[in-house]
Amino acid sequence: MNFDNYRMLDLTTDDPMALTATFASHGWGDGLPLVAPTPDRVETMLSYLGDVDPEEVIATLPPRSGEATRRMIAVNAVLAGCAPQHLPVLISAVRALSAPELNLRGVNATTHCVAPLLIIHGKYASDAGYNGGLGAFGPGNHANASTGRALRLILLHIGGAVPGGGDASTQGGPAKYTYCVAENLDESPWGSYATTKGVDSGSAVTVHCGEAPHNVHDMESSDPAAILDKVASAMCSWGQNNAPISQGEYFITLCPEHAFTCASQGWSRDDIASYLYNKATVNVGEAKQAFALRAWAPWQHALGDADRIAMTEKPDNIKILVVGGPGKHSSIIPSWGMTKSVTVPIMP
């Protein structure tokens, strides 16, 4: 193969620690040991895609304006330890990242701790080994761990989202190492989340740029409202970006048992979102006192100090899906705020 179009490095050893040190000397890597992206490994990864152009630019990623071709995505997938079947998910996720409404420039550059969460939907998730069941957010599953890690490496290397450079995150965050789960369709009473976004595909990936999961614990309730009141309580924390930003989304990842309690009493996804919209509210006067700068919808500015304001401006901003295994812990995943989640079909 002719490597004239690519920058290559010569290594004298295949020791992973030596590779990691070499990469670190160039400002690359995420601090963890890396797999050497040799031409053979990258070609094996690309051959899984079939008849597609490896040099096609899938997206140009800010702030560095790096070109994410299939080949460069594959290079970073190898570095992260991915298997070839994870590559179509990454390519699709990069497409999602380039959607204007996701605002990747802001996501990468902000002082907030936001990280893109990948949610894999449908048959591809189970076929490629993604975990949506017990312990889905980690650790322990190769597909989840390596795919999420590869996306971070793509943002670091191609996008230039390097701490102190293109990433100004004040504290960083563990979700910036890897952040990937599957939707637990086997135990969901409502079908694939992707279909609610109009993605008519058996398999899809959603990218939601948000915080790490916030736990919601309810061991005892048999009433959907009692469970969801606790979800609403977690949604109302003043420390989230969603508090002063009305367009922020929430992903509510219900565990199967909480979802079953809701669905068995006739609650649909829309019912849950509507209930949470009405219950996750705060006092307007207190909100104004807490935040001098508020990115509110125009109608929200007209509310009086004694009124209550929803934590997000419409029920559609509250996204419901099932993740996890046995037990009664769910999560809310608040947004960074100035971003919209994107769902796309998984395509090479």
Binding site: F3, Y6, L11, T38, E67, A68, N103, L153
Partner: protein, 91 residues
């Protein structure tokens, strides 16, 4: 052993900076305040000192959201009204 470097090629940047003027005296300076708590303070102080030194004329403009690009109307007005823009401050 040969390996790929991980960055890939650079594409066209979405925007590029205009060339800096060689003389500031008498220029009109715009301050694009992104409304972060300290951005306006810092930029206004910088602009004030520049104005003292160069007799430049100041215009202060706010954009309402620090996380989004300035609307076309704001950029259009700045283009018409000033020759230099100070912006880009974080918190």
């Amino acid at each position: 052993m040969k390996i790929y470097t991980p960055e890939g090629q650079l594409g066209e940047p979405q925007t590029s900076l205009a060339p800096s003027p060689t003389v500031l005296a008498g220029k009109r300076i715009g301050i694009l305040d992104n409304t972060k708590p300290n951005a306006g303070l810092l930029l206004a102080r910088l602009a004030s000192r520049l104005a003292d030194r160069t007799m430049a004329e100041l215009t202060i403009t706010e954009k309402k959201n620090a996380a989004l690009a300035a609307p076309d109307q704001v950029i259009g007005n700045l283009t018409k009204e000033v020759e230099i823009v100070l912006t880009g401050s974080a918190d």
